[in-house]
Symmetry: C3
Subunit: 133 residues, 3 copies
């Protein structure tokens, strides 16, 4: 089964929790055991599976990325958002999560995040559910 | 279905567009809905899904990586290509793209790239196509 | 088929070879052609597929990460392990390896590594095997 999520981001750089939306797709699929594969079909946003509890972790991740790849830097791309492309490259665009007992099998402190690096924008996430049984 | 692509790279660091070759494998598989999983079976090259339009984005990505992980640096590995291993680690070696209606479902500006960090070399990419229906 | 591996790490930052344990799961699954998807359900450890031969490569990767994201830095997260979250973000939490002829189809110099960034700890890796035939 394949579904597309729509995610509205609110600032230039942000980690948006989409775990609930992805869990809804898995539930609707009826798959008991398998995998849920995710793709962000954008070039200035990525996907990560990080800490869902303390928001300071997300702040620290974004601040560290900004130190490594500053928004204003030695770039040639005329649109001015090269830093967003580079951060998304470092983050990655595809990920997957196992499905066990009909549920997403993430770690206790782990959520699924759309990583926005050039917002605010409306973003999409493609979710594909595959059965392994 | 599983196929292996051969990709010839032309310089030390380069992002080579392999979208067309991957699309050919998907077409040949006849899978209508599912996923196309990709692996680079190398340790100094990676895979990314980035901007397919303006080549300045790819230049800026490679230049930023070189600033973060300079070719000549504090490395101990005697082959002299530690920077390539580290860049490939940051890039990642596996990725996947959804298949919808028998076609790769990438974003409008998104291409599949082999990321060469220690070329020129002949590289391989393993493509596995799985049906989700 | 889905199995969970347990991996005991021995230092704060370490790349632990889990290729043999993953290969055992693939063998037990009896799948001849398909894919083996891996997830680290943690937020301060990741997964990579790097050099399995010369240990200096792994040392150089960890040292470069420490230069990019020093353990003591400008972080706000009160647990003091923000650097581990950031390194795991850069590394990634999920990966996949093709299965051909009933075996993991990795590159000649490629191993599957749990990347520990906040050890020593006991870590888990979820392995899902999917047939493509």
């Amino acid at each position: 089964m394949q579904r597309e999520l729509v995610v509205r981001t609110g600032s230039r750089a942000e980690l948006v929790d989409i775990t609930g939306q992805v869990a809804d797709v898995v539930r609707a699929s009826g798959v008991e055991e398998g995998l849920c594969a995710l793709l962000v079909p954008h070039t200035t946003a990525g996907l990560t599976l990080n800490e869902n509890w303390d928001p300071s972790v997300r702040r620290d991740i974004l601040a560290a990325l900004e130190r490594l790849v500053p928004w204003r830097g030695e770039y040639t791309h005329s649109e001015g958002n090269s830093a967003a492309h580079i951060k998304a490259f470092l983050c990655g665009f595809s990920a997957w999560v196992p499905i066990e007992g009909g549920l997403l099998s993430l770690g206790q402190w782990q959520g699924i995040y759309l990583a926005e690096f050039d917002g605010p924008r409306t973003r999409r996430v493609v979710v594909t559910v595959i059965s392994s049984s």
